[in-house]
Amino acid sequence: MPSRKHVHAMLHTGAHYTSLILFALFTTFPFIWALSSGLSGDASHMYLFPDGFWPHEATLDWFARVFREMPFTTYLKNSTILAFFTIAGVVAVSVLAGYPLARMKFPGRGLVFVAIIATMMLPSEVGIVPNFITLKHFGDAAAALQGTLGLGPDWNLREWIGLNSYFGAIVPNVAGAFGIFLMKQAFEQIPQDLIDAARVDGANEMQILWKVMVPVTGPSIAALAIFTLVSAWNDYLWPSLVMNSKEKMPLAVGVFNDLTGPFATSDNILMAAIVLTVIPVLVFFAFTQRYFISGMDGAVK
């Protein structure tokens, strides 16, 4: 006969896992529901509980129709372009700025650091209107340049760096306090001896940064890249304002517009599209999730 203590421990563990599962259901039910609706050939059970949570007359038709009725691959391509260049920019800018802030003594260092950190307190959303106007000016300037150089209308320089350009969707997100702060913290962790050794070995500041600091802070750079990827991939507001042609929209904007716009023919196809949009992120997350936990670690301490 199991002892009372044993029963108590089992009850405890049972309650623990029940709570865990309830929370898990709460955070994932929209996706589970979307998945089962996307797989259902028979739509009539979709809004019934609990029937909606498993597929009826399972089929992949809705998923196939997403690709036929939506420029899904175009969106996917655009998301990839935006994410790639945002990551490259954020990592480069943050590494370059983080190093002198962490490791060099120069006049104005404290002031620069405080200025960068202070931007964390500003509501970044307030920058949207001015940035929109700035990019419009960029575009105008590019168009004027095009005129001056006498290039033909095919060049359309306006949409290289102004509104409705990849550049415009990316560039305001490149320099951020978060990345600079993260890299500064990472560089501060490196022992002074290592830098001194490199200096005695004859490395200049650029070589110290590139050949010693960057390889050594690999994990932090990876964490920064991953965070940036997720935020760039999911960014909705800014690209939705900058990009007005369907050919340049990323997933988060294009799919949303199609789902809520006149193209929305059936609820099941919408659910299938939702699932397809979320899957790349989930797969990526499954491989890198430890970075999210450990990367945050650094942010708290």
Binding site: T13, H16, L20, A24, T27, T28, P30, A34, Y47, L48, F49, V93, L96, A97, Y99, P100, M104, F106, P107, V112, I116, T119, M121, L122, P123, E125, V126, G127, I128, V129, P130, I133, D140, V171, A175, E205, L209, V230, W233, N234, L237, L241, A252, F256, L259, T260, D267, L270, I274, T277, V281, L282, F285, Q289, F292, I293, M296, D297, A299, K301
Partner: protein, 294 residues
């Protein structure tokens, strides 16, 4: 040694990309926004005319802006809910039992999905004939409270309810983020402290309130600061769920609406300035709180 001036030049060369980009896209907007707030701006030809405090006077008297501000303050209700739930969640996954990596990842999924796409899914949940009503009907029927297995609540259409529904979405989306922050805080607590409390005879409930909560106080303060500012700035939820219908304007949604639907950039800038002011005020209050702790 290198000469000092050379060294300083190197440092600023490294900083240059960051400083230039932040100058254009972070610092310049602050000044430009302030300037815009006192002008009428025409997006077509980029012309601006000085109009003194007209925008401020306008929004001061406008009922819609008052509603928006009120809703933004109401939105702060989400802060304590999200903090408590996230802390409990972190506590549940902070151990070495099997499956914890899976649960941690699961709780983080809403954070890493695009707000627009998650919003569409939640719009289906909140629909009049949507999943939430389906679930409530089923539960009510099963408990004998409802005659038919169908509840009739217009989650996003009823002005008395819609803002809370939007807040529910924010709660769902942000939970995992704060869970991870709390997890980091909890992992800094040595296991011996909890074990000592068990030996002293404290039960689960007592341990949570008397050991865990006091020991993660710095994290609680940080998370509260972050989520308070986050709540004040909430508006993407509104864009994707209700588009401001049914009394769901928030302060920044008002800014967005004025700028990109009315194309009244000056008025948007003035409202944005007011919101910035409130955010800074909140940040300063909470930073003072922090400053004493450190």
């Amino acid at each position: 040694m290198q000469s000092a001036r050379n060294y300083t030049t190197t440092a600023y060369l490294f900083l240059a990309p960051a400083l230039i980009l932040m100058g254009i896209f972070t610092f310049w907007p602050v000044g430009y926004n302030t300037w815009l707030a006192f002008h009428d701006y025409a997006i077509a030809d980029g012309s601006a005319t000085w109009n003194s405090f007209a925008h401020f006077k306008y929004i001061y008297n406008e009922a819609l802006f008052h509603h928006a501000l009120k809703n933004s303050l109401l939105y702060l209700l989400v802060v304590p809910c999200i903090q408590l739930a996230a802390l409990v969640m972190a506590k549940l996954v902070n151990n070495r039992l099997p499956g914890m990596t899976f649960f941690r990842a699961t709780y983080y999924i809403p954070v890493i999905t695009a707000i627009s796409v998650a919003g569409v899914a939640w719009a289906f949940v909140y629909k009049y004939d949507g999943m939430l009503n389906g679930f409530l009907g089923w539960a009510g029927h099963a408990l004998g409270l409802l005659a038919s297995p169908q509840a009739h609540i217009d989650w996003l259409g009823d002005p008395g309810i819609a803002i809370y529904a939007v807040m529910g979405f924010t709660f769902w989306k942000g939970l995992g983020y704060y869970m991870v922050l709390y997890l980091a805080g909890l992992q800094a607590i040595p296991a011996e402290v909890e074990e000592a409390a068990i030996l002293d005879g404290a039960n689960v409930w007592e341990r949570f309130w008397r050991i865990t909560v006091p020991m993660v106080k710095p994290t609680i303060l940080l998370c509260t600061l972050l989520s308070t500012i986050g709540a004040m700035k909430a508006f993407q939820e509104v864009i994707v769920l209700s588009r401001g219908q049914a009394d769901t304007y928030t302060a920044l949604y008002y800014v967005y609406d004025q700028a990109f639907r009315n194309y009244n950039f000056g008025r948007a800038a003035a409202a944005g300035l007011v919101v910035t002011f409130f955010c800074m005020l909140l940040a300063i209050v909470q930073f003072r709180f922090f400053g004493e702790k450190r």
